[in-house]
Point group: C2
């Protein structure tokens, strides 16, 4: 019957979907894939899988792998995704440091470089440091900048739709920097810029403590206090990129919470300011009453802003990240106590399961997803890319 015979447009579409399906199957496999396995993974016939494998190899997306050693009889042909077809950068541009992570198209980290910067460094100098860490990664890996398909940067502040830093209260001389434009010359493809807390939330959703959760709030508790939202399994940016900015709400004391914690008299005078808050949390863990009072106050401060977000979006889980998350055993029970009278339903509270490279990890993850939807799904490469 005619209805079962697809038209030409349908076939081209089907072929593209099959090719992308095969590419995804090769890409997500932990080991090289035989043609029989590829047929199973894609739901195609073995003959179709073989045609696709040849096509993808000809196009440079896949490579045949030598037979497994010691195989008996005629060895099965095996293929892998050529993750080295291109590379991506994940950047974490913080107030106190800049981290660059270079990864292949599967997101496997090739090399990293980090520099500490003074928070009051001038804009041009901070931009120069960003360039330096990227150059260091490229030199270390022996990779040309033309092979960078996507740069994904996380920065403090509110990021506009063009990749500009619209507002950065915590970093001097950073409001108004056109970050995407600045990074563009170092990339053959796309530059993506987002708020650093939001990329940390993405990392938690894809790899960390929010991995199995569709709706979550991520709280960064460190030298500052900030938040980001995961809704429907995706990072929620908001129409103007300002979602999660509950710290600006005048009734929440988020802007001063970390400083107030660090100013606790339980901190000896020889402890450097950056370590003071961790010191208070450690003292509270030991039962120091002054420290306990300071931590209780901090938990109240966090809870007030967090409750506003919880009542708005009713997330399944709240993930606590940032430097202070190392004292989650001290903080989370107090945070739960403070949330209970404020919320209809207190979400599950969990500490981050990632390290302090979570922003860069989120950036890499976002870059790899961008590569998949923008390039791989359409069987194309960035126009400026060179092999």
């Amino acid at each position: 019957m005619n209805a079962s015979r697809p038209a030409g447009g349908d076939l081209a579409q089907l072929r593209r979907l099959n090719a992308f399906g095969a590419l995804r199957a090769l890409r997500s496999a932990s080991a090289p894939v035989t043609l029989t396995e590829l047929a199973t993974l894609t739901g195609l016939s073995r003959a179709s899988a073989e045609d696709l494998a040849t096509e993808l190899t000809d196009q440079g997306w896949a490579a045949e792998v030598p037979p497994a050693p010691g195989a008996v009889g005629r060895p099965a042909r095996r293929y892998r995704f050529r993750a080295e077809s291109g590379y991506v950068f994940g950047l974490d541009i913080g107030a106190h440091s800049v981290l660059a992570v270079l990864a292949d198209l599967c997101g496997t980290v090739v090399t990293t470089a980090r520099r500490t910067v003074p928070p009051d460094i001038r804009r041009a100098d901070r931009l120069a440091v960003i360039g330096d860490v990227m150059t260091e990664c490229l030199d270390d890996a022996g990779i040309d900048a033309h092979r960078i398909w996507t740069i994904s940067a996380g920065t403090t502040g509110v990021v506009g739709p063009e990749g500009d830093v619209v507002l950065a209260g915590a970093v001097a001389d950073w409001t108004g920097v056109r970050l995407a434009e600045h990074l563009d010359e170092r990339c053959a493809g796309t530059v993506l810029v987002d708020n650093d807390t939001r990329l940390a939330a993405l990392a938690e959703q894809r790899l960390g403590a929010a991995r199995d959760v569709e709706d979550a709030v991520y709280i960064h508790a460190g030298l500052g206090l900030s938040a980001a939202l995961i809704i429907g399994g995706r990072v929620h940016r908001g129409y103007g990129g300002a979602a999660g900015e509950i710290g600006s709400f005048p009734v929440t004391p988020w802007a001063t919470a970390a400083t107030r914690l660090a100013c606790c008299p339980a901190v000896p005078s020889d402890v450097p300011p950056r370590d003071a808050a961790a010191h208070v949390l450690a003292a509270a863990r030991r039962g120091d009453t002054v420290a306990v009072r300071a931590v209780d106050r901090y938990a109240s401060d966090v809870a007030l802003g967090l409750a506003a977000m919880v009542l708005t979006v009713d997330p399944q889980r709240v993930v606590l990240g940032g430097g202070l998350a190392q004292s989650a055993d001290v903080l989370l029970p107090r945070l739960r106590n403070r949330l209970e009278p404020l919320c209809i339903r207190v979400p599950d509270l969990q500490p981050s399961s990632l390290g302090d490279d979570r922003v860069a990890l989120g950036a890499i993850w976002r870059a790899v997803e961008h590569v998949e939807t923008t390039y791989l799904a359409h069987n194309r490469r960035p126009t400026a890319a060179r092999p």
Copy 2:
């Protein structure tokens, strides 16, 4: 080449998608569709379109329509979706009234019935009234309950995943009612229950003032004050169905805002309590200074909760609905003034463009979308349905 030859599973899938595509095309057309038009709308060949039209007619989903009168030459065959294949109910169960709307599978309203109820009515009596308005609709339309494919109900309160009213502060004896279970016997298919404000938000997003917007906050300002969220073009319920419950936040005065407005001394003593707030808004429009002060205070109260939601999700638009939205000219400029110092970015503020049947409209819309994804997309009917 083999890769272009789809396997059997692919073909069945393609055929199902084509049938659904044709059904959608017939359903969304404003007039009967010729085979040539159907081919264009679905992207299929004319022969495939004809096969599909015959198949759908045989299955009872479509009907051939007599030729247009006065057509010259051999008349083109025309088809329509059989919207009368089944029916849906949209219910608005409020504190003061119950509204039932009966519609066909296209969402076209067949008939409606409304009853006023005292807010302190007993649970059993309120449930009986709900039954009465539904029976009245069925009798009026001459339709048997076995032809109801979906009942979609909106009710005040927090609704749990099983369609239970988990918490209803504004209605006596309503917390804990198992509404979905109660309505189930009156339906051949699915019963859907949601918070009424959320269904009003859905109606605004599909038909009203948030129609072109992906992310919006809807505020219901009437005898009470409540909110709902649209995120990514969908109503956001939250993990426990408690999204938008910012009115419970102790720092927002939402619980008392409406009462305080109604208690303004500008209201003459002969005005019934239900009309008092509208009276204050009208007096403020005329420049009555006492009323202006009361409305300013109300706008501040609304703004405090709204700002918390805006800072959390950064929506493109806020839509004001409910009875007081009729005075949007008085309220919205004041609301904007109050939001400006509280928010990073003040969203576009718009009055609702729907009437006070918006909850029932949202319920109908939700039912029709459910019918589409659950039944039409899979070419099936509810198992208990009778023609």
